[in-house]
Amino acid sequence: MSTKQKLVIIGNGMAPGRMLEDLFDTAPDAFEVTIFNAEPRVNYNRLMLSPVLSGEKSYADIITHDDDWYAQHGVTLYKSARVDQIDRDAKTVTASNGVTAAYDKLVIATGSNPIMIPLPGHDLEGVITYRDLDDVEIMLDAAKAKKHAVVIGGGLLGLEAAAGLRMQGMDVTVIHLANTLMERQLDESAGHLLEEAFKARGVTVKTGANTSAILGTDGKVSGVALEDGTHLEADIVCMAVGIRPSVAVAKQAGLAVNRGILVGDDMRTDDPDIFALGECVEHNGQCYGLVAPLYEMASVLADNLMGGHAAYGGSVTATKLKVTGVDLYSAGDFAKDDDREEIVLRDAVGGIYKRLVLQDNKIIGAVLYGETSDGPWFFDLLKKQTDISEMRDTLIFGQAFQGAEPLDPMAAVAALPDDAEICGCNGICKSKITDAIASKGLTTLDDVRAHTKASSSCGTCTGLVEQLMVLSLGDAYNPNAVTPMCGCTDLGHSDVRRLIKAKELKTIPAVQQALEWKTGTGCAKCRPALNYYLVCDWPDEYADDYQSRFINERVHANIQKDGTYSVVPRMWGGMTSSNELRTIADVVDKYEIPAVKVTGGQRIDMLGIKKEDLLDVWADLGKAGFVSGQAYAKGLRTVKTCVGTNWCRFGTQDSTGLGIRLEKFMWGSWTPAKLKMAVSGCPRNCAEATCKDIGIICVDSGFEIHFAGAAGLDIKGTEVLGHVATEDEALEHVVALAQMYREQGHYLERIYKWAKRIGLDKIREQILDDAEKRKHYFDRFVFSQKFAQIDPWDERVSGKDKHEFKPMATLALEAAE
């Protein structure tokens, strides 16, 4: 006979998910848990829906608890089961799937429903809200075939939906009733900056606009009519005007309900055995729609279920907009009033706006736009009601500007309460990190990421996490210390590179022996790095160790998520011909290649090729003169070009010719991380050279050489190396720069990170100012190319590494039974 109490939960969103985690942490066996979820799936991180919509994450990336988690904790989860009846006398609930479950304690976590304004036409097909994964899927589907999207509502959710739909390629118009966007969280200035930012990314914004009707034909949405008579085309209309607590089932059960389900400080409703939390509750007259309060409620509720007496005191909330490239943070109250003062900082060029609202020498509101790293610090001062008179003069410049001791960043982090959220992506609070460091003996950032997930998604909280590690571990953790290459050694990359040269170490075992590696054969982190360093430093003597290369570089194709490969042949400078295109078409047909895509580097990617077919595909491509595009390599990838003086009426130099010359000179070279280049024929820069690893902008008087741009995880314009007059000089400078990077870069360190680490001046000194040094770099590159410029596809078609491409054996299995 089980003595466990029966805990039934209605709803499976983030709030009950967090509550269960807290509960299982303290008392894994106290309850027999049953969950009814109206959605047909497990618990996922609703905060991350916007990155799913924009395509930056997938559903799998945002799952918080998978099926195994429920199984492990003995939780019965009914999916697609909406509870529509609570019988408080019998203490049972009944769901739409016919299941009736008895409870000792019941938790209502039904969340909220999006508000659908009953405009004419709101029930047409194609009118949706933005609330759960189903909505995202409808939007993604629409974006595939349709063109025009209208988002009604310019608040947080509406803007995230608009940005996501825009990234999916739709024409998006945002209709907003108020005169500025996000008027509940932002003042007018910040709202205006935000509007400009959205316009800049191609979203049409109509503020002060009221929708009068949604128009349709044949039951499907076709447009939106505004009160001023404007008609907008629309294939999809997303209504994002707000949320309303979902209280139907609580009302049916006769619980006290106002706007939300009424709960006390212990999260209990007016029935002592029924609790509620999350967006469906009303506490002290407040309903919440952000994640931090839900988590605070979750821990209070978990404690009370265990017989504790934790009390929820309400939350002050801060808002962040999750749109890549728009930094926005707001907290508190910022309406103007006589007894309030303001501190404002504007940097029009940098697109920065910061405003603090003070009352009685305390911060009561903060709006940050463009640069938000001090948001949590201001928010903390706000929550704590700290007297800021001492630092008033420099307050707006942020935490780093406050000199003396009590304001140093460590003290601020130390002062954060245990439940302060550190990682917003994964909802990880301070105590979770510090507890994990203590109980599991974690000593590195990687450990903390692996065990807590903090700082493992977008990474913006890495600094905070490191400060917590310093606090917990003291001198044992020094974030500025040399980070070892991996767990196999205490030496950092720079030391290893230096010692390889100094001690003339020429094989991986020799390095590991001489530098006292702690493991027998190294690991998957250090072996590829060592292999690269040795290839780079001893090009004529070192025999490349293929078993230390990542699979893509071992089989010269890119592994895809289903274990098939993609193949990208070189198209020099992005130029191709009818013969090349015909060959590619024939290969695609012959090997039934499922997908063909034009890449961002001006060439063609064939995706979904079976490993066994690779050799034959390459052989056929090779007959037409194709060589490997090395699209898989930490090495030279593409040299993108525009048509330059060959065709363009604005061209100043033969940019295509120079691009092809560079690519033919540099192909095959291995570099610390991938190296992408471009040559633009004039400053209009159609080849987008100013976000490349190395780029050239042609001008009338010669060539401007750029480097250290980025357009991936980070976005960064290039730095200018200098100006040269002739094509030969341009080539020499580019090649010397690449060689300097090859010799000094840490494995997997892109050129912009290397440049930042060693300093731009140092690079200019050696490559631009010192002709002799430049020549030496150039010569070493040329020497190493003698051993590198061998087409790997041709080599393999001719028989090298045959074993990589075929199974060793195929067993004919007979049914043994």
Binding site: A524, R527, Q547, K561, G563, A809, L811, A816
Partner: protein
């Protein structure tokens, strides 16, 4: 069902597999990855990472483990267990060396 008698089948020789490498054996629907370590031990695992079914045979082999090429999970060759903070297990298969000949127990494969 009780224990099934072993059914050792020849699948290749040691020199078919590079040191710190792997080769695949296709057995009906299943693919088995046979690994060779630096000290010439052999191990057989189903060619599927417990995380997202990545082909372990394509990973880097190091110190009795293989690192999955898709998301860098590290799997023990001897036990099939995920190492470090990750949790999961890949099925292992009995495999042995007789001289240079590699034998796989096909009894468990059907």
């Amino acid at each position: 069902m009780n224990a099934v008698a072993s059914l050792w089948v020849e699948v290749g020789t040691l020199c078919d597999i590079p040191k710190q490498g792997a080769r695949c054996v296709v057995a009906g629907e299943k693919t088995i990855a046979v690994f060779r370590t630096l000290d010439d031990q052999v191990f057989a695992l189903e060619d599927k990472c417990p995380h997202k079914n990545g082909p372990l045979s394509q990973g880097i082999v190091h110190d009795g483990c293989v690192t999955c090429p898709l998301h860098n999970w590290v799997i023990s060759l001897a036990t099939g267990q995920a190492q470090g903070a990750d949790e999961g297990e890949t099925r292992t298969y009995p495999v042995k060396l007789e001289g240079d000949t590699i034998l796989l127990d096909a009894a468990g494969l059907a």
